[in-house]
Subunit: 598 residues, 2 copies
């Protein structure tokens, strides 16, 4: 209980929980220079197990924070998905092998698998370079949000009072009081923050019980390094190959068995990994799998598919990750969705705290992410049902056929990869001039594409020039700047953009400009373009193939931009915000005035 002597302090953002969602938020905010703290009740970070699949879109997001190199170095890559079904002789046989990732535009056409502890380390090491460390073990004991309207509307106020307990080895605790402008509840499925504000989870527990076991597998199964969905007459099993030659097995468990108590509840104590492996062996017949010397990790997992009724309290308290939605692990969505919640929220908080945006901008967090979570649940329900169902065989004609399964697997490919995430029309996403760059879908992430730097013909992936640094990126497609007529237009655009920048409170600090000409590498002169359209020579690009003719080129066509050019606004999180013809800069001004402070 707080005493009169408890330490008191003020902070911009307090993050409760340092799992994937909390760490993503902490890293992004610290990188943006926001005053942030992050606490966790665990004395140490996760060492093994839990989630481990990073989807293609999440890899792109990692890259935007400069974290993909390490992820790719440490992780395993899943390129192929293999499907096994009952064979006529009672075992299983290979039915099909397909690409694990079906989203066509994925820059990284695979999933990365790496245990959650390693993923958390990537974030905590990065955070540390920005001066932020997780305080642990620390728990909040009370949280109070002011209901004074003037406080709530004043971004400089600290309307949230949180009492923290620093747990000590001697079972004593030290109390601290924190006054925060914003709180992020990233405290997992049993979220204390969520419960503190009485937010309901909507949806239901399913009765699919899955055992999970991580091991190094000595086996003659030929697809042990591919993602496998195995349907046998003895049960279903999923294989996820992992880093360092490890493999995860997801095993469908009977609702009867040693792990189920007489009153129908799960008894984890009764669940030995040997038992899980035994179940997997039945499914994998005729292939063998040896018992390893040790099991790296195991758990039992009951699928809950639920979404919180609200994701925020008065735009001051936000919940992210498992705290506001849970999914079956089968489609590998939980951790990905969790991190992407924070990715969506962090730049918005930054803008409000820097005085760049109105506080109302924060409403778009729930608007965008709750809809996504619901869509995910709907998908998950279909997928989990199919996955847990009996395979169709001679004897079982109403079972799930491979064709049904594959159809769902592929139809939802854009969705499961995260590539297809689409934020609906709002103050942040204006479809007004969608036709000016018709393949850059407003509300979706920008399509990866290789352009050349005009000054030195070096090929660059445009996504690499769009870091998650809280700035809006203004992509000026000039058309062919070697053409004098078109070059003149860029001078007008440059003046109008200067005006736009000077009209917002943030000024140029909120923007980064990339200029993309359709001139060729043989003729382009990057310094012919107006200087205010390129803060550095490396930011003038051309749409041409590299000198070997293998990379780049055709970007205007792929993006659906005509020879007249266009301006494309990319949000700080990499999603297309708005598009305008070169002569409609005033419409961009209207867009920004919808949320930016003037």
């Amino acid at each position: 209980m707080p005493t009169a002597t408890a330490k008191e302090s003020e902070i911009d953002v307090l993050i409760i929980g340092a799992g994937p969602a909390g760490l993503m938020a902490g890293n992004a905010l610290a990188r943006n220079g926001v005053k942030v703290r992050i606490i966790d009740q665990r004395p140490d970070r996760v060492a093994a197990g839990q989630a481990d699949g990073i989807q293609p879109r999440t890899i792109e997001v990692f890259q935007s924070y400069g974290l993909a190199d390490r992820l790719l170095k440490e992780g395993n890559q899943m390129h192929m998905a293999a499907f096994y079904n009952p064979s006529p002789d009672g075992g299983i046989e290979l039915t099909d092998r397909v690409s694990d990732v079906t989203a066509e535009s994925a820059r990284y056409p695979f999933e990365v698998t790496l245990h959650q502890g390693a993923i958390e380390s990537i974030f905590s090491d990065s955070m540390r370079s920005f001066g932020l460390e997780v305080s642990r073990p620390v728990v909040p004991t009370s949280v109070h949000l002011s209901d004074d309207e003037s406080d709530l509307n004043d971004p400089h106020a600290h309307p949230i009072r949180v009492v923290l307990q620093h747990l000590q080895p001697n079972n004593q605790a030290e109390t601290e009081i924190v006054h925060a402008r914003f709180v992020i509840g990233a405290d997992g499925a049993h979220s204390w923050v969520r419960k503190s504000f009485g937010i309901e989870m909507e949806g239901e527990q399913t009765d699919y019980i899955w055992g999970v076991v991580d091991l190094k597998a000595d086996t003659n199964f030929p697809d042990i390094r591919n993602k496998c969905a195995i349907h046998s007459n003895n049960g279903s099993c999923m294989i996820i190959p992992r880093e360092a030659d490890k493999v995860r097995l997801y095993i469908q468990l009977d609702s009867k068995g040693p792990h189920v108590t007489s009153n129908g509840r799960i008894d984890k104590e009764k669940l030995h990994p040997h038992y899980l492996l035994e179940e997997a062996r039945k499914t994998l017949q005729p292939y063998y799998i040896q018992t390893p010397e040790k099991f790296d990790w195991w758990t039992i997992y009951i699928i809950g598919q639920r979404v919180a009724s609200r994701f925020s309290v008065k735009d001051r308290i936000f919940i992210v990750g498992d705290a506001c939605h849970t999914h079956s692990p089968k489609a590998g969505q939980g951790m990905n969705a969790s991190m992407n919640d924070s990715h969506n929220l962090a730049w918005k908080l930054t803008h409000v705290l820097k005085g760049w945006a109105e506080i109302s901008l924060l409403k778009t967090y729930e608007f965008e992410r709750r809809k996504y979570a619901q869509d995910l649940i709907n998908f998950d329900k279909q997928f989990a049902k199919l996955f847990s169902g009996k395979p169709r065989t001679e004897a079982c004609q109403d079972g799930v056929s491979h064709e049904d399964f594959l159809k769902i697997f592929q139809a939802f490919g854009g969705f499961t990869s995260g590539i297809g995430i689409h934020y609906a029309e709002s103050s942040l996403t204006s479809q007004k001039h969608q036709t000016s760059a018709k393949n850059l879908i407003v509300g979706q992430r920008i399509l990866p594409q290789i352009f050349l730097r005009a000054a030195d013909s070096r090929p660059v992936e445009i996504q690499d020039l769009l870091p998650s640094d809280a700035r809006f990126k203004v992509l000026v497609f000039t058309g062919n700047s070697s053409n004098l007529e078109q070059l003149k237009k860029t001078w007008t655009v440059s003046k109008e953009l200067d005006k736009l920048f000077s009209n917002v409170a943030a000024g140029r600090a909120m923007f980064d400009i990339l200029t993309i000409s359709s001139a060729t590498k043989a003729e382009v002169r990057y310094n012919d373009l107006p200087k205010s359209l390129w803060s550095h020579w490396s930011k003038v690009l051309i749409d041409d193939t590299d000198l070997k003719g293998v990379q780049g080129g055709d970007g205007y066509r792929k993006y659906g931009v005509g020879s007249d050019g266009a301006i494309v606004i990319i949000r700080p999180d990499g999603y297309v915000g708005m598009i305008a013809p070169l002569d409609r800069v005033q419409d961009l001004e209207a867009y920004f005035s919808g949320f930016a402070r003037i």
Copy 2:
């Protein structure tokens, strides 16, 4: 002078000089577990200037040591070469832009430019991870090689006695005596080691004088970020864009001028960078270039094109790098050739020291590298002459035309990039079965190619599976292993290779096997192949496109391997050593018995 109390020690290899050549040798040997020391007379490493261009083949070599990532992260890339010539109005104009690298098979189709100090740091950091540091400032004061034949033929003997002086701040020196099995003289153009053994430099000093200046250039010259060869009526100039927005200018200087004394010698003291810049300005007209606040580095450079008469003394003392060959800096060869000498030598020393190879293997170092150095000089002479010549104009009809220049530039592209290096037939390169993989030229480096890992369909560049770890790589192209007939042959091959391995003194330790099937990703079962052909599942590859159909495939055809398969031996330095049909494993045995201990 050594006293009775001088410290004495034994070492396998003593490297004298820690420039690019010495560091490459030190890193490679330390990585291979050889007992090695490296000394340098300078108290600190190079901070700026000197050489700075890493050629495409050298980047591949860096990659084979795991050092390319950092090189690419820190360095600038030159993709484009631009040519400027006199314009009718007295200034210069763009004549042409072409790919800087013309070697078709270059994996990295560009040059990396980075100052020599940064390149040296990459090596010294890597060396440190293997426990090796440069001892400095230390100089050798005497070296003596035994002439006892039995000592010289015994790889365990230490026939070299070197006296070292550790220089102290107080101008005193501490003396040490080192007994070495081998010495590498990597002590630069004025090599003490070379002179100690009276080795002559053959060739002559040229009279081309070049000034070199490094600066951040504020200019309106549109090709400032491309490599430029500029011929004007006021002189010639070469531009090399560098890391961190720096630029190097190479400026042709008059044989008269403030830098030339009355008796025709260069006076460096008279040479201000301002003067160099002024000369460059004359050439660059009508473009401006501002005087920077500071110049990063400058020098004056006289082209010497010489090769040492011998590269070794009794196969115990070796000289590498500038110690045995010097070149004009124009084609950026000096540092590259230097590092590649050591790359060639290091694995051979390793094999002898580990008792894997006969000492006679070391003769191939001079055989291979001296010929290369001579070819380089011949090329360099033509190139430097062209470069330093007057441009052809109306008034000067016997000047150098752009067409002449471009022809040489492109004709020698394979050569300057290092990609075309070709070691002639010797005990290490047997052309006997060249036709079995007709595009993998024996004596050239293995062509880069993307294959898929059979077990998980992940695309991999084959060069990445051929690290510089002193092992010979045995590439078994099995043909289509899904075909039972062909699979049976691989079982025979596997038995015969086992026999070969057991017949050499080193055993399997000297080899790594990669197995490359032409089966498709849909049907392949990596574990059908005999276990002794894959030490790990990641070492079974297939020749198929990746799941998006953009990378890989067609490797058998590109390599010229038929459906019958073939075995390709890659030397530890990445060069093709020998090829054999699957049923001629005995010819490989003959090849290895030419140098390996039995």
